[in-house]
Amino acid sequence: MKNIIELEQTSKSFIQGDRIFTALKEVSLTINKGEYIAIVGKSGSGKSTLLNLITGIDHPSCGVVRVNGTDIHQLSESELATWRGKNIGIVFQFFQLIPTLTVIENILLAMEFVNAIPKNERQQRANSLLEMVDILDHGDKFPTALSGGEQQRAAIARALANDPDILVADEPTGNLDSSTAMSIKAIFSELVANGTTVVVVTHEGIDDSAFDRIIELKDGEIVLGITNASASEE
């Protein structure tokens, strides 16, 4: 399947007191499998809102969101939760690890919820994910004992726990210094190289040639979609 994420005329409005504020205005967007997408735009332009619609965290006011062939907003809450766990890995700006679980347990918890990876493979898979993000030594530590960069690596490892086709990240490096941010970006590039579709909201993305496509939002509308030359081969 080529089009892994499709938005058709999707809008999102918020009711604030007695007036309606539209954060996303009839956005149509197609993302192909394996693409590395950056979403940029000023604060309040609707980036997080768009991401939340893709992950099913939020519901569109109208329009359709199809991910991996599923019209996700037709699913019930529980179906959506399991679907999301299986198909989309989410990375947050503030890492959002469960503080009472060790790093490896955070990863195992995600597997437990979705139940897609056979039980006897989980431990090993968790280890190899930690190895991939380069924090194998920290697996048995609690999140608070980790630096910001390490926590974000752990969060990425957790997002990949159930081998999702899509990884979505909302300002994943916004809270990190630039060299740590670079190493996180390197992990994303590696994932893209291995066939995962990655959608990242970022501030400093415009000049980054690693992205296949850069989508710019302004006042809830897509104003620009730059396609990098390197991506057109696909």
Binding site: R84, L97, I98, L101, E112, F113
Partner: protein
């Protein structure tokens, strides 16, 4: 173990503070209900069992012609289950040197074959050695008498001695610790020797197929016809309450109270639990959001938090259940000691365990349900924005500096207003706690006031009740030389009957003939007026006696029987007193109509110095004179002692009210503490910001302490308002219970109680807000801004 349960355990471990408060609240709630269930189960069964195992008589008959009765023929009748002679005489016995108490001496036909009114061997000999007596075990607590000692008994003015050869337990008697009576049992010959009267003159009967007092009355009516045909003249009869222990009222009060207060504190504990649960969930909202974002379904969330709740419940059951069994038993044992009955229940039925366990598991789930549902249903977006990525929108930084500078009071006020719902719950529970606590005090002072009034209404200090009426001058003679005596009045007390329906009534109406203008008694008039001294025969009834006339109409004439003479007397008033049914008549008229020889049988002595010690001293002197003069006396009673006896009847109840209401108040302040705790958690960020812009820890503490203070004050105010109707209701309830139907106690406001409530509530409120406030100061700028 699945990771989710690992998480539950770790979470509990880390949040041990709030978890232990929640477990404590659950335990207290469960402990309360458990104790209630256990003690109710034990006591309601056991007092009755104790009483019924005596096979209580249905009726007591007195006659001098029972020799005409063929007891075998009587027993052969289908209506009669059992009949047995058991004479009873009221004598006096010396319990301590020169201190005498009434002695109820019973003659028993055959100790080994008692068919009713049974009592049981405790110690020493049973049956008693010939010519000796057995005494009731409770008597040991109020006298120097014991097995082997010799009792000095006053009978017809003479002192006779008899040895005590054993101790028995008689569950049919009112506890002598409260009623100040000595009960003794002996054989017929010794009975006659001690009393100087023949035996076999009092007959106890148990009827078959009698279920109520009414049945007994009806069956007796039939029987009395047969008796008169046989030429047996019944002098008097007495029908006790059907199958009811004389102090059942006390137990009933306790059980009612336990029920009400126990349930209330349980409800409050559960409100507290629901608050604590929502506080715990508030802390977990963000995590719930994350878990949902990485694939947790509602079932997962449900499993996690149900496990959480069940573990806490389990802990509370493990502690609360055994505790409840222990305290329930201990409490029952305490009460049984006071009322003098034996605990018969050894094994709790499984049902009690099952009910307590069920309550322990189910109630917390029900009361955490709102929080649980909120957690299950919250959307990822809402959960995360509640704390996480989106919170930056919520931080209001514009006027923070202003807040610090503006008075802390107004900030606290604003916070209370902001969390209206929760603060309302807190306030309502606090107010309820305050109200119950205050009501406890108010009822106590209502009772105290009533007792004071009762004892003040008696202007005499000592009352000597003579067994045989004497001419006034003769009765006064022996006391001539006691200088401490101010004056003595002679009254007549006796037993009369009121004709209220087709058959004559029960015999229990006391008749007091007193000079209508006597200054020795003041009256707590409920209705009508006191005796006026008019030419017509008037009477005043106390509220217990008033129950016999239905309906009670002031100004109406009722037939009364005095010394076998049927007379019409006009009811002019009803007075309230803690006493058996009594009516009052003018002494002059009484003498003229039925007491022409003008003998009196009560000496009402008033003293110059009314101090307690002096009264007791004179009492001893009076006792010595009585012994020397060989007067035949029923009792010598001082008003102060009487008040003490009455107070003893009620004290146990009062103490327990106060204790339980303190429990309620402490549970409600725990509720306040947890509400404050939630506040702190929810305002973590705000506190961090406040600290960042320069608030000192002290300021932060004040923020919460002031808030707690405002809530406490508002609760006290609301509680005070609530306490007024509650106290009035409670005074009504107690009045009815102790004094009889339609006899409310007067509402009394206890200033002492109010002061104590005020102090306790403010103190509890302070503690309840201080602890979370301290926690708030632990919030550093770093922690608050780091979102964790």
């Amino acid at each position: 173990m699945p990771i989710i349960y690992k998480k539950v355990l770790r979470e509990m471990f880390i949040r041990y503070r709030s978890i232990s408060v929640a477990i404590l609240a659950l335990t207290i709630g469960l402990w309360g209900v458990g104790t209630l269930l256990v003690s109710m189960h034990i006591m309601s069964n056991d007092l009755n069992q104790n009483f019924l195992q005596t096979k209580p008589a249905h009726i007591y008959l007195k006659s001098e012609n029972f020799h005409k009765l063929d007891i075998d023929e009587l027993l052969a009748r289908p209506d009669i289950m059992a009949a047995e002679f058991r004479d009873k005489a009221t004598l006096r016995v010396e319990v301590h040197k020169n201190e005498w108490l009434p002695l109820w001496l019973y003659s028993v036909n055959d100790f080994e074959k008692m068919s009713m009114g049974r009592f049981f061997k405790q110690n020493g000999r049973f049956p008693p050695a010939k010519g000796t007596i057995l005494i009731e075990r409770n008597n040991l607590l109020i006298s120097d008498l014991n097995v082997g000692s010799t009792a000095r008994v006053q009978s017809k003015g003479e002192i006779v001695e008899t040895k005590i050869s054993g101790i028995v337990f008689d569950p049919g008697q009112a506890p002598s610790t409260q009623d100040a009576f000595v009960y003794a049992y002996t054989d017929k010959e010794n009975y006659s020797r001690l009393t100087g009267s023949p035996a076999q003159q009092r007959l106890m009967i148990r009827f078959s197929n009698a279920e109520t007092k009414e049945d007994v009355k009806a069956k007796f009516k039939k029987l009395s016809n047969d008796f008169s045909r046989l030429g047996i003249k019944i002098n008097s009869f007495y029908i006790p309450k059907f199958n009811e222990h004389p102090h059942q009222f006390q137990l009933n009060t306790l059980l009612y109270l336990n029920g009400i207060i126990g349930l209330l504190s349980f409800v409050m504990a559960m409100v507290l639990v629901s608050q604590l649960m929502s506080s715990i969930f508030t802390q977990q909202i963000r995590q719930i959001g994350i878990m949902k974002a990485i694939g947790a379904s509602r079932t997962h969330i449900f499993k996690i938090y149900i496990a959480f709740i069940l573990l806490m419940s389990l802990a509370s059951i493990l502690i609360g259940l055994p505790l409840a069994i222990i305290t329930g038993k201990a409490y029952s044992a305490f009460v049984s000691g006071v009322i003098n009955f034996d605990i018969l229940t050894t094994q709790m039925p499984p049902a009690i365990y099952i009910v307590i366990t069920l309550v322990g598991f189910v109630m917390p789930i029900i009361f955490s349900l709102p929080a649980l549902l909120k957690g299950m249903n919250i959307s990822v977006n809402d959960a995360l924005s509640d704390y996480g990525i989106k919170t930056k929108r919520r931080v209001t930084s514009s006027n923070n500096l202003g807040i610090i500078n503006s008075s802390m009071l107004s900030l606290s006020m604003r916070n209370i207003a902001r969390r209206k719902g929760r603060m309302m719950v807190t306030m309502v529970t606090m107010a309820l706690g305050v109200a119950i606590f205050l009501t406890g005090f108010n009822v106590r002072s209502s009772l105290q006031e009533f007792l004071d009034k009762t004892s003040q209404s008696m202007k005499y200090d000592l009352k000597v009740a003579l067994k045989q009426p004497l001419p006034l001058a003769m009765a006064l003679l022996p006391f001539k030389n006691i200088e401490k005596i101010k004056s003595i009045e002679g009254w007549v007390g006796g037993v009369g009957r009121i004709q209220s329906d087709s058959i004559s009534t029960s015999t229990g109406i006391g008749i007091i003939a007193t000079p209508f203008d006597s200054r020795l008694k003041e009256h707590d008039l409920m209705d009508g007026v006191w005796l006026t001294g008019s030419e017509e025969l008037e009477f005043v009834a106390n509220q217990q006696a008033a129950l016999e006339f239905k309906p009670v109409v002031i100004g109406k004439s009722y037939p009364i029987v005095l010394k076998e003479q049927k007379l019409l007397a006009r009811l002019v008033g009803v007075v309230r007193e803690f006493d058996i049914a009594k009516i009052y008549l003018d002494l002059d008229k009484y003498n003229r109509l039925v007491n022409t020889d003008k003998k009196i049988n009560s000496l009402m002595i008033s003293l110059n110095n009314r101090a307690y010690d002096n009264v007791l001293e004179v009492k001893k002197e009076v006792e010595q004179i009585i012994e020397k003069a060989g007067m035949d006396v029923i009792y010598v009673m001082s008003q102060t002692e009487r008040a003490v006896i009455i107070f003893n009847h009620l004290n146990i109840i009062l103490t327990i009210i106060l204790f339980l209401s303190l429990l309620v108040l402490s549970v409600s302040s725990m509720g306040m503490g947890s509400a404050m705790g939630i506040n702190v958690i929810e305002r973590t960020r705000e506190i961090g910001v406040l600290r960042a812009i320069g608030a000192t820890p002290k300021m932060v503490v004040n923020l919460f302490v002031i808030e707690g203070f405002i809530i406490s004050v508002l609760s006290i105010f609301a509680g005070l308002l609530l306490a007024l109707p509650m106290s009035a209701l409670a005074a009504n309830f107690f009045g009815e219970l102790i004094l009889g139907e339609d006899t409310p106690l007067d509402f009394a406001f206890s200033e002492l109680g109010f002061t104590i409530t005020l102090i306790v509530t403010l103190l509890f409120g302070y503690i309840a807000s201080r602890a979370p406030a301290n926690k708030a100061t632990e919030i550093t700028v770093h922690k608050a801004i780091a979102y964790e």
